[in-house]
């Protein structure tokens, strides 16, 4: 195949956890693969670990969707720019991006995240209490995996306890398969209004939370803070939920790893839920893996491709926590690498410790082939996970 042949994109995953089998073919041929998105636009697919990292660190390659040629996954869905939503800093390149990252990193240091452990444990324990109180079955995605990150983010932002049910209900609407576009728009509107009100309250009566600290820091305007808060919510909710749910399925199949701390990194690598998240565009001509990419051409570095590159990870399609999964790019790479990654690790760790210790007989209630995976989603995960004990 030459680079002028177009392959249709996105691909379906064949099963847990494997990236689409086509990725292997892309990886083994020289250069990059040119693909057509559902919107009809063409993009370059990058699947090798080394080149995915190169794309994500090259200053000639931009995250800003206002640049001509930035990939849009479909006709209607496109990444917002920081012009559309002030504070949407994932859509900014350095140096504009730096101010936001600088404002936020003190809230996500290793020490700060460690200090959140008791709060996360309380949230996980409470979610398990509620599951146990209902009987001996649950739908884990809705009852647990989405609940935990929603409550963690609300605690982080400083949402008062009395409002957390409201917050959780609205955030779930955003990511639930059965929600209509209208319901999603409405939920998003409610949340934005709520966050704006919260920012006003915190500016008068600051607490020990992220919004109050960012207000006091003075690096961001209240309007930017509102965009930042929505971004943290959206970036940290469904991604974390998908990781938790997929991890439960994988660990129940290989229970010998449940108490092994190394399993978290390997789960992140193995499932690579955010395969398609890091969309880019070249703003100058640039050569990647021997392929000339022209200014204005879209680039999709495939995280699952990189994390299943046999040159980086031996037997990449095996779940094996005894390997060193260090160096995976499940959280991306470069200046946009996931800000909340250490919080995700904490949430996964606390979630598994809670679930498997308190419910030792936990099992998936349907045959694995009947599980509904998000094969066509931008994020990989499970639509539902029926469990029993």
């Amino acid at each position: 195949m030459t680079s002028t042949d177009l392959v249709p994109f996105m691909m379906r995953r064949p099963g847990v956890p494997f990236p689409p089998p086509e990725y292997e073919g892309f990886r083994t041929k020289p250069g990059l693969t040119k693909a057509a998105l559902p919107s009809g636009e063409t993009v370059w697919l990058v699947t090798r670990h080394e080149e995915v990292r190169a794309v994500l660190t090259d200053p000639r390659i931009s995250s800003n969707p206002t640049h001509e040629g930035f990939p849009r996954p479909s006709r209607t869905v496109g990444a917002p720019s920081a012009d559309d939503v002030p504070g949407w800093f994932v859509s900014l390149d350095p140096p504009d991006h730096n101010r936001f990252r600088k404002a936020l990193i003190p809230e996500f240091t290793v020490r700060r995240i460690r200090a959140l452990r008791p709060a996360v444990e309380q949230i996980v324990d409470h979610a398990i209490d509620q599951m146990l109180a209902k009987g001996n079955t649950a739908e884990l995605v809705e009852d647990f995996s989405l609940t935990v990150p929603s409550l963690v983010i609300s605690a982080l932002l400083g949402v008062p306890k009395v409002d957390r049910d409201f917050f959780e209900e609205k955030t779930k609407v955003l990511v639930t398969l059965t929600s209509t576009d209208e319901q999603r728009d409405k939920a998003s509107e409610h949340l934005l209004r709520y966050i704006n009100r919260l920012i006003t309250i915190k500016s008068k009566r600051p607490g020990d939370d992220l919004i109050s600290k960012l207000l006091q820091g003075g690096l961001l305007t209240p309007q930017e803070l509102s965009g930042v808060s929505m971004l943290l919510l959206i970036a940290g909710h469904e991604t974390t939920a998908n990781n938790i749910s997929l991890g439960v399925v994988t660990l129940l199949q290989q229970k010998q790893w449940i108490d092994d701390d190394r399993m978290i990194e390997e789960l992140l690598r193995y499932h690579s839920v955010a395969d398609l998240v890091a969309l880019r565009v070249a703003i100058e001509d640039v050569e990647i893996g021997g392929q000339l990419v022209r200014a204005g051409e879209g680039i999709v570095p495939l995280v699952a491709g990189a994390n299943h590159d046999p040159d980086m990870f031996e037997r990449p399609d095996e779940f094996d926590p005894s390997r060193s999964a260090t160096g995976h790019v499940a959280f991306g790479y470069g200046v946009h690498q996931c800000l909340g990654q250490n919080l995700v690790r904490l949430e996964m760790d606390v979630a598994y410790r809670g679930l498997f210790r308190r419910i030792p007989t936990l099992e998936v209630a349907v045959p694995l082939e009947e599980l509904r995976f998000k094969y066509d989603g931008v994020l990989f995960g499970l639509h539902a996970l029926p469990v029993r004990w």
């Binding site: 990193i105 996500f108 240091t109 260090t326 160096g327």
Partner: protein
């Protein structure tokens, strides 16, 4: 023994170095990297090299 230097101007506070090499790197209150041991040897040196390899901002240099 190797010598470690960091470019705090590049650092994005992802803390991957702190997790990979806690004896060599730390974060200040602003979240930026600080060096605890600028001349690590043995295991610490090898963890520092791992940290250099995974730093998303490529802010760590190991001078041999």
């Amino acid at each position: 023994m190797a010598r470690i230097s960091v470019d705090t101007g590049k650092c994005i506070g992802s803390a991957q170095c702190v997790l990979a090499a806690p004896d060599v790197f730390d974060q200040d209150d602003d979240g930026f990297v600080t060096v605890l041991d600028a001349s690590p040897s043995g295991d610490a040196e090898s963890t520092a090299r791992t940290a250099r390899g995974i730093c998303p901002a490529q802010a760590i240099t190991v001078h041999d």
